[in-house]
Symmetry: C2
DNA sequence: GCTGGAATTATTCAAGCGTATAATAAAACC
DNA sequence: GGTTTTATTATACGCTTGAATAATTCCAGC
């Protein structure tokens, strides 16, 4: 006897993988990593559970792909904001501000980020993803800083430049955390302004040396 | 017929709760929040699963108690380090350094912290725990800063002081993250020194104004 | 030394987990 | 337009989950 079987749409490999990853992130954000079960994810993506094993070797590999997606999304948003600046100073400023402003400061993104961070110690393959993105972020900052110092005719050794990048990275990450976890405590542009003033101070610029708009 | 039944030790309520919470944290750190199952936790604590329901209304409540434990542990370590300083400057310095030095920078603690952070959006009662501790940390910083500025005979408005506290909190959190997640990238005292130099810059002190040991 | 009540264990239960496999619908091919 | 390929569904399996319950052991107060 034949079974009543759903008809279905046959999607391209690329978009189906996208859908599955998106559904995975939805589930993690909504129910936590414990709630991101194969069945929930499949339901959210509008498919049945078995399909996941057709696109990924297992649930873990899908989680890892999802992690990559979140991290590259965050970094790329900030980098994309930076390249629109005309001067090195403007690029640096835009980069800083982008990192403490929506859509980067977003509770959902933070949840996802934290969920994955907490799994780094458990699954070493997650550590590799983190390392990749940390280094990319650091390098982006170092590049922006080097260009900025050159523009200002200020001689800064590579070692010092790296120190600055590490500190700026910390400051930006920390403000991102604060701004996302306690958004109600800060006025609209308060965090962005604090970020700019703090970066000015960190780089030992005169007040306004970064935050002031050039004409 | 009677069953072969383990004999058991009857602990005081306080220490049994402590044991259960400690076992919970062990399991989360080792297997992630998904691996922190009632059975695993019970095994780790040397009891059977049913006992958990005798001390907590359910697994979730135990998780929340565990979260409280982690956070107060972190803040208290830093605050305890601070009070040993003789001058306000020394207290501030010790506070900063303690936050980017073991035992605060510890992969296990970071895992736990991240696991709980990722559940804030899901369970609002976790948000309350976070808020409590964030405010406590911010206030500790503000107190240290106020005393320091007074000691230096420097007039700083409360608003400005809060701005500084927010920035310092961000920097410290960020360096804590970097130092714990990429510990291999930093030499022994590198992060602590970077932290002190960065705080100096943030507060617009002259170089050495905080990091240099007074005689 | 009993004994009543609380702490703890052992066991059970339904639900849900990730994965494996076979059947089937949709597309691709010639 | 029939045939092959493959993406997708349906179903099953063995395990684990959090919780509930009943049986047992311990301890305090008498």
């Amino acid at each position: 006897m034949t079974v009543n079987r759903r008809s279905y749409h046959r999607a391209s490999e690329a978009e189906r993988r996208e859908d599955l990853i998106a559904a995975t992130l939805d589930c993690i954000a909504e129910f936590g990593i414990q709630g991101a079960t194969v069945r929930q994810i499949a339901t959210r993506a509008g498919v049945t559970g078995g399909l996941i094993r057709h696109y990924f070797a297992g649930k873990d590999q899908m989680l890892q792909a999802a992690y990559r997606k979140v991290m590259t999304g965050m970094t790329e948003t900030a980098i994309a904001a930076a390249i629109e600046g005309e001067t090195a100073k403007a690029r640096l400023r835009r980069f800083i501000v982008a990192n403490v402003t929506p859509p980067v400061t977003d509770p959902r993104t933070l949840s996802l980020w934290a969920a994955f961070i907490s799994h780094i110690q458990i699954d070493p393959s997650f550590a590799a993803v983190h390392r990749e993105n940390y280094l990319a972020f650091l390098e982006a900052l170092e590049t922006l800083l080097t260009a900025f110092f050159r523009e200002e005719n200020r001689a800064v050794s590579p070692q010092e430049c790296r120190r600055y990048a590490v500190a700026l990275n910390a400051l930006v990450d920390g403000l991102w955390l604060e701004g996302t976890l306690a958004a109600d405590m800060f006025a609209d542009r308060e965090l962005a302004e604090n970020a700019l003033h703090s970066v000015e101070a960190l780089l030992r610029l005169e007040p306004g040396g970064l935050s002031a708009e050039e004409r």
